[in-house]
């Protein structure tokens, strides 16, 4: 299969009563991890559900592995693995039984790979899932997701609620998975520190609108926190910053173009920022908020 972008989303729209996923467009190139960030209810899961054709979209185009969804849905789904925040396997099952069941679910299921992952992740094969911890359940999902030679891994809040040790273990597996440059990952999360560690690209969604998308390092390089005193705040042009956070000593302003801001306000101190801060300031865009 010849294609450049593992995932292509163009003008994706989905309307609900009280919420609209509005004209979302982004690409996930092969061999990369796209971090899909946004607060709860921003539209991450709706986007993923549209991507997987779990819900019918109202407009736009979705292409996975170069094929149109839903036209080639069954073909596409051979190359996709989805990992959700909750383990989807019945708690009365164990890994041995699951292995047999998933061999019927995925045409390219690899028993050997699954067994290797179980050993590597120290998951007991005969213990019922109801006796698994949250971390073990997530590791089991990852093991299942990576055992049928999928080309795209789609994760919906999969690392939420896990302790840092398990999260690191899982992130390492993802990086290993991307050693094959034909693979790609779309990872939705509101834990931005994970994405900062592994993501190559980032898309930021809020209230159904895509606010930012691009290469993570470029986004982090471009943005900055300009720290000013309370008196100086009035002198800053409103269009030069996204939003302002007022502290006891002054105000922190998120600027989208650090170099331009440095030229315009040479006296101001402009620090580097993080994805978490970018998310916070964009969510509170067009307003001043307290620290």
């Amino acid at each position: 299969m010849e294609y450049e972008n593992a995932i292509e989303i163009k003008n994706l729209t989905k309307r609900y009563d009280g919420f609209t996923l509005d004209d979302i467009s982004f690409n996930v190139p092969k061999g990369s991890i796209m971090g899909f960030i946004g607060q709860n209810g921003a539209g991450k899961t709706t986007t993923i559900n549209c991507l997987l054709n779990l819900i019918k979209r109202d407009g736009g185009e979705v292409r996975l592995c170069g094929m149109d969804m839903p036209e080639k849905e069954i073909e596409i789904k051979k190359y996709i693995s989805a990992v959700f925040d909750e383990m989807p396997f019945n708690e009365e099952l164990n890994a041995v039984i699951l292995d047999k069941i998933l061999a019927g679910v995925f045409s390219q299921w690899d028993h050997k790979v699954f067994t290797e992952y179980l050993d590597r992740l120290q998951l007991p094969s005969k213990k019922k899932f109801k006796d698994f911890s949250k971390g073990m359940k997530m590791k089991l999902q990852i093991a299942a997701a990576l055992s049928h030679h999928a080309r795209i891994l789609i994760m919906d809040e999969a690392t939420t609620g896990l302790d840092p040790v398990v999260r690191n273990e899982i992130l390492d597996i993802f990086l290993e998975y991307l050693q094959d440059e034909e693979n790609a990952i779309l990872m939705s999360s509101h834990i931005t520190s994970d994405l900062e560690k592994v993501a190559d690209r980032v898309s930021f969604i809020d209230k159904g609108k895509l606010l930012l998308t691009g290469v993570k390092d470029e986004i982090l390089d471009a943005h900055g926190i300009m720290r000013v005193g309370k008196k100086e705040l009035a002198d800053i042009d409103r269009e030069d910053y996204i939003s302002a956070r007022v502290t006891d000593f002054g105000a922190d302003l998120m600027v989208a173009d650090r170099a331009k801001a440095a030229r315009k306000y040479p006296a101001a101190l402009i620090d580097k920022t993080t994805l978490e801060e970018i998310m916070l300031f964009y969510v509170n865009r067009n307003k001043t908020f307290d620290a």
């Binding site: 789904k77 051979k78 989805a82 396997f89 019945n90 047999k100 679910v105």
Partner: protein, 247 residues
Amino acid sequence: MTLKKLIYRELYLSKKNILICLGIGIMCFLFAVLLLLSCRFGNFAKYNEPDKIREIMNSVSAYLPIMLYSIFMVEGVDAIPNQIFTDRLCGWHKFIRSSEVKAKDYVGAKYAAILILFAGATLLMFIVCPVFFLLSGTKEINLTGLIAVLDFVLFFTDFNLPLFMWAKTREKAMFWSTVPIWAFAFIAPTAAMLNAEKFNDADIIEVLIEKYSNGNFMLAGCILFGILAVLLYVSYRLSVHFVEVEG
């Protein structure tokens, strides 16, 4: 291959329910045996009308193996909406829809598993009933009970169809699915009473030869199973639609 593995999952997850049904069936069987022993050797003989009591007890005990069958039926028909709701709650529904499995295979596996259970329960009934008749020495056969069970299944299947369409929560579906069980508690004895005279005191072999060779009876049976098959198919199609549209 896909269907086979999915049926395996459904049967594996039904294991506990099957064992419970078998446990209840064995208890019913033992209870029936105890009743018969009491009729023959116990204190019933000392009462004023021992024959009448024996007759009642024989009727009750002859009805019990059919209860086993009806438990499987109830469990089976009730299982499909329950399984779909359970799958929705645990996320299997979403997982399977994100995989290459088609909705018709996913739902089809559930129906196939139920049909396998029905076949198993029917086979069990045809084994248990004659054994029980041999042990008890009774010459009665409670075909009315069987007909009542089939009527009930028809009614129940029909009733369960709207559950797929509007019961958004499992709790709501569970609540409404208990209504036919209560209805059955009235329908079955009523049906049995209405038909009792036709079959009581008839020789088992005579009943089988006469009734099964009777064209009307066979025609009625065929129509009954035909309606059941159509309803099951409609139920299956609605389930597939539900899985595809409701997600």
